[in-house]
Amino acid sequence: MRRSPKLLDRLRLEASDLENHVVDEYLAGRLDRRGLLREGSRFGLALPLLGGLLGTADPFGASRALAQTGSRDATIRVASPTPAGVVEPVSTATSGGLILLMQTGEFLIFDQPDLVLRPMLALSWKPNEDGTVWTFNLRPNVKFHNGHVLNAEDVVATMDRLANPKNGSNALSALRGVLSVGGTRKVDDLTVEFHLDAPNGNFPYIVSSDNYNAIILPADYAGDWEKTFIGTGPFKLDKYTPKVGVSFVRNPDYWGTKALPARTEFTFFADQQPQILALQGGQVDVVSQISVQGAQGLLNDPDVKIVKVRAATHRQLHIRNDVPKFADKRVRQAIAMSLDRPALVAGLFRGRAEPGNDSPFAPVYPSTDKTVPQRKKDIPAARALMAAAGAANGFEATLTTMRLQEIPDYAVLVQNACREIGIKLNLKIETDAAYYGKAQPGQSDWLDSEMGITDYGHRGVPNVLLGAPLLSGGAWNAAHFKNPAYDALVAQYIATTDLGKQREAAGKIQTLLLDETPVIFAYFYDYLTATAAGVGGLTVTGISQVFLANATVA
């Protein structure tokens, strides 16, 4: 299909100013093909218009995913982490739980691995001019597994449930300050308006699969999700045994193309090594997530296929800004300058990562300002900073963290790097339960430690990462960083709908964080999934989601 100027002109007449701005950016060469898809999808750009611009009838490549070889009607066996506690869409917060939510549940929008948004239960979405109200049109004739037909009231109830602090909602990390109870309003049976707390240019990501709690549930959902795994997805529950595993079967009433596998089986494992051995021994077809450190055997195995997703997954090394020995930002800068980031990427991840530049703006984000200079290892300069801060003789401190994947090794490397600038770091490495504690100040090593390393997952946009760990009132602000200028810049970034202006605000935020260095972001690593060589058609995202509807086994 070739681009038709006349067709484009006609379609542009029907488009909003924001949509036309995206088209202008593409036609002027400031957005590439992928950028057009990503930006177009963010504003719900009409499919015909996108197709017309790109010269294709299938701009999202959805049909390509079905072109798999191998056996259909197969059973796909997956090794995944044991869910911590009850699997419940509102409160689930771990990879073991969230991978189950999206087996039977669906989101309004699917955030693809390349950060392009694709319609799921919402067919289209549009903002008003200032990004404070977003209107979503829902897909008609979608049935829940119990036969109930999806309507706007289900979406309103789901979002109010997630936005309500009384429900212990894990989604509040994304929704707080964005969408409150009552902000989601029914317009008609298939139209919903989101009235936001503040302008937000990235809102579609907040209600997409990026917010893994946001599967749409029936309005009358009353809990006990583990009994039904109710949703609208291509699979429905067959059998669930807590702490052991769960199996699903194809949903014959699914609104879209029916799932290729007849059945999927998830077996829970507490550790990575048995999962690896199960894959190598042929007991499972997929290991949902592997780490470079523990899975060298798979990375070198010709009978295993590694699915790699470039992601914003990272570790945050926080430094308490309100502790006297770290109060001078030159000390924090010195610590950051003692780290050799390319070596960390090469040594810890065998190249399956990218260096970070001490802000949440990962290289994968289109809004990241890549003109901001990359911080590099410079021991003489770091020592000079320590001397200028009156800490030439160094001091002793404790780095607290948890036992997870490469984190203990990273802690040792930070310890060695700090030794070069005179800081004697003692390591306190504990279980994740002990580290997070009650996740409240005064009851959590994570939030109370003077230095700590914390695991952070991928997000399709950096909004959550800019907020909770770094805003003055942020719930995850382990660095105790309080900076009004930063808070204002983040508000400006979040409210901006235009990519160019987002990038401009991002540049200012990146520069400010480099100067203040409340948190060290040394690397962003790829999300890795392992499958047997004959398995194909998986869609994997950077937040531990594995979509199996198009999976086949050779």
Binding site: Q272, Q273, I276, L277, Q280, Q293, G294, A295, Q296, G297, L298, L299, N300, D340, A343, L344, A346, G347, L348, R403, P408, D409, A411, V412, L413, Q415, N416, L427, K428, I429, E430, T431, A434
Partner: protein, 302 residues
């Protein structure tokens, strides 16, 4: 006059041995002859050589290793054994040979200290329960049985989770969980001693209970205590390594062998055998060495 001095005056035979002396049996060996028999014991000598080698590494290791055992080299990770790195490098590029050598220090600090704690506490409890008897024996005896009914490694893990892992906590925990075992052994030995004449003589002299337990009886129950201690040392080494492997023992960046196995065992399936094998072999050799010493001691003293 103490039991020991009585024994010396009686030609070197301790009263207990003298009282039960079987004319057909070989007389109980004197201290010098025990040492000579130990030195003639092949198992003791082999074990001693192994243990002394690791003790030498623990004491002088940091002075003789070819590389900084804690220094990373991220551009040379997981290198196989070579002339530059005899045992290869680990996943952050540290020299494994150097780490195995200096790794003897943490385990040979923690395990013997834990065994010492258990020996002192267990001996005290064993003397008390065995000599005093009565309700105290019943009470402590039941408590010991309760403790012994629990899986020791699980008890250790629970305590370490509650208190947080550190070398001193590990010493305390292993000391506590081994105490009942030693107490039970000592109590049995004391029970066979308390009815002997030298204890009755001390009581007639009006000696206090503490004096009788620690000055009269203790020297005569030292052989079983020594045997039990050497046996427990082997178990303590194994327990320290197990706790480190489980992540609740000695903490990074220590070169501790159990920790090294824990940090690298995932590498085995990738073919990086050297990251685990040498630390595992070192642990095994030390446990075997201590057990050979224990066998030798047991053969001579029992």
């Amino acid at each position: 006059m103490t039991a020991t001095s009585l024994a010396a005056a009686d030609g070197g035979l301790p009263p207990a041995a003298a009282a039960h002396a079987d004319p057909a049996a070989e007389p109980f060996a004197t201290a010098p002859s025990r040492a000579a028999r130990l030195l003639r014991s092949p198992s003791f000598m082999v074990g001693a050589v192994i243990v002394l080698f690791w003790v030498f590494c623990a004491v002088f290791g940091p002075l003789v290793v070819p590389h900084d055992p804690y220094g990373d080299d991220l551009l040379n990770t997981l290198a196989p054994p070579s002339a530059a790195h005899w045992f290869g490098t680990d996943q952050i590029g540290r020299d494994i040979f150097s780490r195995v050598i200096v790794g003897a220090r943490p385990i040979l600090s923690v395990a013997p200290l834990a065994t010492l704690v258990a020996t002192v506490a267990g001996t005290t409890l064993g003397l008390l329960t065995g000599y005093v008897g009565g309700w105290l024996d019943s009470l402590i005896g039941r408590l010991i049985e309760v403790l012994l009914a629990l899986p020791l490694i699980v008890v250790a893990l629970l305590v370490l989770v509650a208190l947080g892992p550190s070398s001193s906590t590990v010493i305390g925990v292993i000391g506590i969980i081994f105490t009942p075992l030693i107490a039970r052994t000592v109590r049995s030995a004391v029970l066979s001693e308390r009815s002997l004449d030298y204890v009755s003589a001390a009581e007639l002299r009006g000696e206090g209970a503490l004096h009788i337990m620690f000055v009269e009886i203790l020297p005569n129950v030292l052989p079983p205590i020594l045997v039990e201690t050497t046996v427990r040392l082997g178990y303590a080494i194994f327990t320290v390594a197990s706790l480190s492997f489980l992540g609740f023992g000695i903490q990074p960046p220590s070169a501790d062998w159990g920790l090294a196995i824990s940090e690298n065992y995932g590498m085995m399936t990738g073919g990086y055998w050297w990251t685990v094998s040498f630390a595992a072999a070192a642990t095994a050799s030390l446990v075997v060495g201590v057990n050979l010493v224990a066998d030798g001691v047991q053969a001579v003293f029992e």
